[in-house]
């Protein structure tokens, strides 16, 4: 157990830092520090391509597919330097961090050759087609169907809460391929092109007035027969494996975004004297402690993912960061006071602290509500009895 970096690792950190700082204070200064996920999408596409051009798009991937075979520590270093430099949220997070590794694990060589270069090059943006209306966190209740028609799959149904679908070129879809199947059985995992008439995206306006999430409608949408990842009926397993990558090194990048948010709150508290309020100070300390414990928890997960004790840390991570972030939003608006309620952000929208307050409410809902997470922890980590389903 060791926290410090070797001289080689320190050199790598300097390389990352130099490259990122140069970009963020140079040709990409206009998108430095952008937290908002839907702002300036074209510039962020440029940024994805620039990362790729200089070899920083997916450093953890194999060299064969445009990566650098980076060690875990190198990935940690890059993720942290990335956020520290104020580089924007990755428009292609889903591609690089989730579907890419899943295709590496489950894809045929042909599928890999067809999909990975576009992701690595920053050209193809991906989104995730899991949630459905009425199904919420219950993946087994999926009703979107895909039927075989010659050399193609034909997809009908609806997805919801699809983040950034309005910018995506591709979507990975969990659909029911076995007619009449129920629950986890009969699902398959499909890679679908968004640029076709059968796919329609409707943005969902959120409580902060913006629209990161979307509904995606499939009406006779099509993908080639060999766009099925894994084997037919293996959709549940592939979908679940993909979720496992959510706990990868990108968690550290997310944490550095959190760090930037906390820094902004600290700055506000200093500016309006909230920093002199002992109660606010307690909450700032709690946020600081919680963030550090997320960091060290993530390092535990990443350092030895196979150890039993560490897998419990992985299981508890979603509710930990989601609840932490929601509390940070509450702290943000309390520090801002009434001034935080005035819409004086860019384009007449919410300022960053108010937006954080509103937006962070989604964190404990999507990707498995806190309630679902507690069930999982109780059942898988503590061995308590499973919840009774009403329909079994």
């Amino acid at each position: 157990m060791r926290l410090g970096f070797t001289p080689d690792e320190q050199a790598f950190a300097a390389e990352c830092r130099d490259w990122l700082q140069a970009r963020m204070h140079g040709d990409f200064a206009d998108i430095r520090g952008i937290g908002n996920l839907v702002a300036k999408p074209e510039r962020r596409r440029d940024w994805e391509r620039r990362l790729a051009a200089d070899g920083w798009s997916c450093i953890g991937w194999p060299r064969q597919w445009g990566g650098r075979d980076a060690t875990l520590t190198q990935q940690v270093i890059f993720a942290e330097e990335y956020a520290r430099a104020g580089a924007p949220n990755r428009l292609n997070h889903m591609g690089v961090e989730l579907i890419g590794p899943t295709i590496l694990a489950y894809g045929t060589p042909a599928q890999q050759a067809r999909t990975l270069p576009g992701i690595a090059a920053g050209a193809d943006i991906w989104c995730q087609g899991y949630s459905e209306p009425g199904a919420g966190s219950d993946l087994a209740a999926i009703r979107t169907r895909a039927r075989r028609d010659g050399d193609e799959w034909v997809i009908d149904g609806q997805k919801i809460w699809t983040s950034l679908a309005q910018f995506a070129d591709h979507i990975f879809v969990v659909a029911r391929t076995a007619e009449g199947s129920r629950g986890r059985d009969g699902l398959s995992f499909l890679l679908v092109d968004m640029r076709q008439p059968g796919v329609e995206v409707r943005p969902i306006r959120q409580i902060n007035g913006e629209a990161e999430f979307n509904e995606v409608f499939f009406t006779d949408a099509r993908c080639p027969a060999d766009a099925l990842l894994g084997v037919e009926g293996q959709g549940w397993e592939v979908a679940t494996a993909l979720l496992g990558f959510e706990r990868g090194v990108s968690t550290l990048a997310q944490q550095m975004q959190f760090r930037n948010e906390l820094d902004a709150i600290v700055a506000q508290a200093r500016a309006n004297d909230a920093a002199r309020d002992p109660l606010i100070r307690q909450r700032l300390a709690e946020s600081e402690i919680g963030l550090q414990l997320m960091r060290y928890g993530a390092l535990r997960m990443l350092s030895r993912a196979s150890q039993l004790e560490e897998s419990a840390a992985a299981l508890t991570y979603k509710i930990q960061w989601a609840s932490w972030h929601r509390s940070l939003g509450e702290l943000a608006i309390d520090v801002a006071g009434q001034a935080g309620e005035i819409l004086d952000g860019p384009d007449g929208g919410y300022g960053p602290l108010a937006n954080l307050y509103l937006y962070s409410r989604a964190d404990t809902i999507y990707g498995g509500t806190n309630q679902i997470q507690r069930n999982l922890i109780a059942e898988r980590a503590l061995g308590l009895p499973r919840e009774v389903r009403g329909d079994r």
Partner: protein
């Protein structure tokens, strides 16, 4: 001692509930949100046809001659529907105008003129007939005709149509009660006596606490209904114990919030020595209870509650606004602590 509502009080509550249930619909409130946060037709009907504009004003001054208990029942009803009406500023300003013969009370009670109230931010320079000050967050300030400006124990009444007044509307998170920034530069002002200032502020805090309690009730009702209807894993989610227990806790909150409202309102009406503590307690407790309930409403509605189309965010934002207005809960609790710790041992 009799701590139950009288039949007349129940009738007032029923009338107000029916009025807002019919008038303050989601569609009308959303229309008002795009129009300065004011449903003027609803407000006129409230003041005129219903005659509730002067509920707590003496009959001799054209009011209904009732008290803070009756007003609180009405404010709870308005809060239940997140009505876009200038009730807060109205109760504060009219409370301060009661003993002021030259005040435009009649027009305000009739709903023809709109009165509001706001705290001064920063330095206030005043002489006998004018005031120079800035109030940053005046509720419904952009649609108001009269302002009650407060600064500690001092207060002034100012006609907003007069000289030396600059009103800057501000887009506000709770669009049912938007703020305005009002700058006064030697604006003509009528001084309000300290006791009226105290009463106005107490009425305002009670109004916020009562609105919060009404909002808590409505949010709880809506959430219970949703959890009974929404199915997950083949069961209504309201059958899951974690959700049952969460909502049970909110029900416990709600019952306490009601007790807080009645305590504060009765204490103000009867002028008891603990009225100040009661009002601080009510503001802190009811605002916090509403904040918790609105947060749970959002969480338990899942994704749908996170959309603009659903009314959840109206309650969520109203709860936030109430929590931040006229002193945070922590500040009000500190006042309660000071009273407790300064009491002779």
């Amino acid at each position: 001692m009799d701590f139950a509502l009288t039949d007349e009080q129940r009738m007032i509550a029923d009338t107000a509930n029916a009025f807002f249930a019919e008038g303050a619909t989601s569609a009308r409130t959303r229309a008002a949100m795009d129009a300065g946060g004011l449903d003027r037709e609803l407000w006129r009907a409230f003041c005129g046809e219903l005659g509730l504009g002067g509920i707590a004003v003496p009959e001799a001054r054209g009011g209904a001659g009732l008290g803070m208990v009756e007003f609180a029942l009405v404010a709870m009803a308005a809060g239940e529907r997140v009505a876009a009406i200038p009730l807060l500023g109205h109760i504060m300003a009219t409370r301060a105008m009661r003993d002021d013969a030259r005040a435009p009370l009649a027009a305000c009670l009739a709903g023809d003129a709109i009165a509001t109230a706001g705290e001064a931010d920063g330095e206030v320079i005043a002489d006998d007939s004018s005031v120079t000050a800035i109030a940053d967050f005046v509720p419904h300030g952009a649609v108001a005709d009269h302002l009650l400006l407060l600064d500690g124990g001092r207060g002034w009444r100012i006609a907003l149509g007069g000289p030396g007044v600059t009103v800057e509307p501000r887009a506000t998170m709770d669009a049912t009660r938007p703020y305005a920034r009002i700058a006064l530069d030697r604006a003509p002002a009528h001084t309000i006596p300290p006791d009226a200032v105290r009463q106005a502020r107490a009425a305002g805090l009670l109004c916020l606490a009562a609105e919060a309690t009404g909002g808590t009730q409505a949010a709880l009702d809506a959430t219970v209904a949703y959890t009974l209807e929404r199915q997950q894993f083949g069961r209504p989610i309201g059958s899951f114990q974690a959700i049952k227990h969460r909502l049970a806790d909110r029900k416990v909150d709600l019952e306490q919030a009601r007790s807080a409202i009645y305590w504060a309102a009765c204490s103000l009406d009867e002028g008891t020595s603990d009225a100040g503590t009661a009002v601080h307690a009510a503001k802190a407790f009811c605002a916090d209870a509403f904040t918790r309930m609105a947060a749970d409403m959002l969480q338990l509605h899942g994704g749908i509650g996170f959309t603009w189309e659903h009314d959840t965010h109206l309650y969520f934002k109203r709860a936030r606004a109430i929590a931040a207005m006229m002193g945070s809960s922590a500040w009000h609790r500190e006042q309660v602590a000071a009273a407790l710790l300064d009491r002779a041992a």
